[in-house]
């Protein structure tokens, strides 16, 4: 854990109005994923899906430290990140449902949500694949003399794949404006970190690449935002990449088919106590926000998600010919 002051659930230097919008985003994502869960149960989602419930503070806190012109790449557990970066709820649902108006025209699905228009350059389902790709988006910024930043989410288990190593090394030697954010949710699929990784603090791996590494409480959106904002500032200033390890927890199993029976007793419960939405809401109220405003946000978020889903459900399926498009430009 970092040596920062204890978790507070809010960011000291950000206007509360803005932080209420973080709450809104987290609530929307939570409802969105609950709907996904139900859609699965109803057989409306194909393949697999991987929910980020419990990890929203990492995704929202980090993405809110970015400009819309900055880019963000995430994993198959990417609904939260892509929505946090600004993708519309309805078209995200549409993609998961395989609709023509889905973000990717129904060609990608849950694991591959992408919305270039908001800088969500992709959700990557092959472990490690995107870590080298963000080198390129970052290089473009450096090459063009702009100050855009590329942020890259990945899991704890992903730090053992070769691409991680190559990417962090090259990001550092080229001083690229990248922020690597490891969402350490304690498990890679069904394997606890300690069974696959001989060190405890993944941020320590930053030392191999001569870049700063920091471990933070990923359930405290204030801490996440502050940490990422300073890593982003560093990147913008041309000082190179940072590795941030955000400690968090997924409330659901790895994927739709996983009951997560491997969890030690009490672990989930302990983390539910630290639900990032609850923490943030509580902190906002402590900071003076009226409870009713939080409730209104929640109600509105739920309504927005429901309406978005309804729209998405009404959309047409992709045309048969569309499957032949977009192989080449």
């Amino acid at each position: 854990m970092s040596t920062k002051p204890p978790a507070t659930g809010v960011a000291a230097d950000i206007p509360l109005e803005e932080q209420l919008d973080w709450l809104r985003s987290m609530q929307e994502i939570r409802f969105f994923e609950e709907e996904c869960h139900r859609l699965f149960a109803r057989g409306l989602v194909r393949g697999s899906t991987h929910l980020a419930q419990g990890q929203e503070a990492v995704n929202v806190g980090a993405c809110r430290a970015l400009r819309v012109t900055d880019t963000m790449a995430c994993t198959y557990r990417g609904h939260a990140a892509v929505l946090a970066k600004g993708a519309p709820l309805d078209r995200a649902f549409g993609e998961i449902l395989g609709k023509a108006e889905g973000l990717c025209g129904g060609k990608g699905g849950s694991m591959h949500l992408t919305d270039m228009s908001v800088g969500a350059i992709g959700s990557f389902a092959i472990i490690g694949a995107h870590l080298p790709i963000v080198l390129g988006t970052a290089l473009t910024e450096q090459y063009e003399g702009r100050d855009g930043v590329s942020l890259c989410f990945f899991g704890d288990g992903s730090t053992n794949i070769g691409a991680f190593h190559e990417a962090l090394n090259m990001a550092s030697i080229w001083k690229l404006p990248v922020v690597y954010v490891c969402e350490n949710n304690l498990y890679g699929e069904y394997s606890p970190l300690a069974t696959t990784t001989p060190i405890e603090r993944l941020a320590d791996r930053a030392a191999s690449y001569g870049m700063p590494g920091v471990t933070i409480d990923g359930n405290d959106i204030g801490v996440v935002h502050e940490t990422i904002a300073s890593a982003v500032a560093r990147a913008r200033a041309g000082e190179g990449p940072t590795l941030v390890e955000a400690l968090t927890y997924r409330h659901k199993g790895h994927s739709r088919s996983d009951p997560a029976a491997y969890r030690p007793e009490g672990e989930l419960e302990a983390w539910m106590e630290r639900d990032p939405i609850v923490l943030h809401e509580r902190a906002l109220i402590e900071a003076g926000v009226e409870q009713s405003r939080c409730e209104a946000i929640r109600t509105q978020a739920e309504a927005d998600v429901t309406a978005a889903l309804e729209r998405a459900m009404s959309w047409a399926e992709p045309s048969p010919e569309s499957r032949l498009e977009h192989v080449f430009a």
Partner: protein, 330 residues
């Protein structure tokens, strides 16, 4: 006596029987031990054979393949699992440049009895990077045996043979077939690698297919028999070695060839088969050999699109009809 088991059970049973038979056999891969495999193909093996022989690895496919190579050349008989076959992309060098060539490059100093199991194929909505027919990536790499079982009996029998084989075997298990059922003996038989099976005898056309396409080819053949068309369905079961003789013999009788494959055209095993048969059975053909395959695109996610991509029973049957209609315009 015989029993009915699933394709999935056949794979589990084959691993268990092989481990029972030979102390040198071990299994490793991501989540294959404690969790029993992402597809539950190794359920119960850890409990039965212990953590020495059934091992979880980090998410490190290059390390997994390397471990298979090194342990095989030093006397073990490793089974390594690559969860989705598509992940062969991250360890392609290990498979194609090291494992395949090791014996050759050392002038025969080593044998490489490694079995790599890979979850193959489309049809389950996993989209472009988790659905490919990855066997085609390795066709141009001499030194690998490539096995593609389509039934529980073949899954069992070929996996046992793969594990006993002194050479590296890529064993592609089709994800869409895990739940399919079939008959096997109580002590199921081994199946020799390199022998095609005539799944359904016929006289009018030779229809070659593997894995999911085998099932659809049989269904197409049944549909066509109602139209009076007699289709001989052949499953090569392994692509390297490829039993050209059995297919060629069939072609000599039927004079028409259709291949159903879950793959785009170029570089596919179907195209390879056509080229091989042309060289040896040119005179046997009364019509152009036809490949019924996937589109020349990545595999789309949406249900209706993926369904169009994968050859359906109808598309296969239609291919047969068109082939037989060749030279007889309607």
């Amino acid at each position: 006596m015989s029993q009915t088991i699933t394709y999935k059970q056949a794979i589990t049973m084959a691993m268990a029987d092989a481990m029972e038979e030979d102390e040198r056999v071990l299994l490793f891969g991501e989540d294959v031990a404690v969790a029993g495999g992402a597809f539950k193909l190794s359920e119960g093996l850890l409990e039965r054979f212990g953590p020495r022989r059934v091992r979880d690895t980090p998410i490190s496919e290059q390390a997994i393949i390397g471990t298979a190579i090194g342990s095989a050349l030093s006397g073990l008989r490793p089974i390594a699992e690559i969860m989705f076959a598509d992940f062969a992309g991250v360890c392609f060098d290990g498979i194609a440049n090291e494992m395949a060539k090791y014996r050759y490059m050392t002038g025969g100093q080593v044998t490489m009895p490694a079995t790599i199991r890979l979850g193959n194929g489309a049809g389950t909505g996993f989209a472009a990077q988790h659905s490919q027919a990855v066997e085609n990536w390795f066709l141009n790499v001499p030194g690998l045996k490539i096995v593609v079982p389509g039934t529980p009996a073949d899954a069992y029998g070929l996996l046992r043979s793969a594990i006993r084989d002194p050479d590296p075997v890529l064993f592609f298990e089709h994800k869409h077939l895990f739940g399919t059922k079939g008959e096997v003996e109580d002590a199921p038989a081994l199946v020799e690698i390199g022998r095609a099976e005539v799944v359904r005898p016929g006289t009018d056309v030779t229809l070659v297919a593997t894995q999911l396409m085998r099932l659809r080819a049989v269904a197409a053949a049944e549909a066509l028999s109602a139209e009076g068309i007699s289709v001989e369905v052949i499953d090569p079961r392994s692509l390297v070695p490829l039993d050209v003789a059995t297919i060629g013999e069939s072609l000599d009788r039927t004079n028409h060839l259709v291949v159903a494959q879950e793959s785009s055209h170029d570089g596919s095993w179907g195209a390879t088969l056509v080229a091989r048969l042309m060289a040896t059975h040119f005179e046997s053909l009364d019509s152009p050999p036809l490949l019924v395959g996937g589109d020349d695109t990545p595999i789309p996610y949406a249900g209706p699109l993926e369904e169009l991509w994968i050859p359906s029973v109808d598309r296969i049957a239609d291919g047969v009809r068109r082939t037989l209609a060749y030279g007889h315009p309607a």
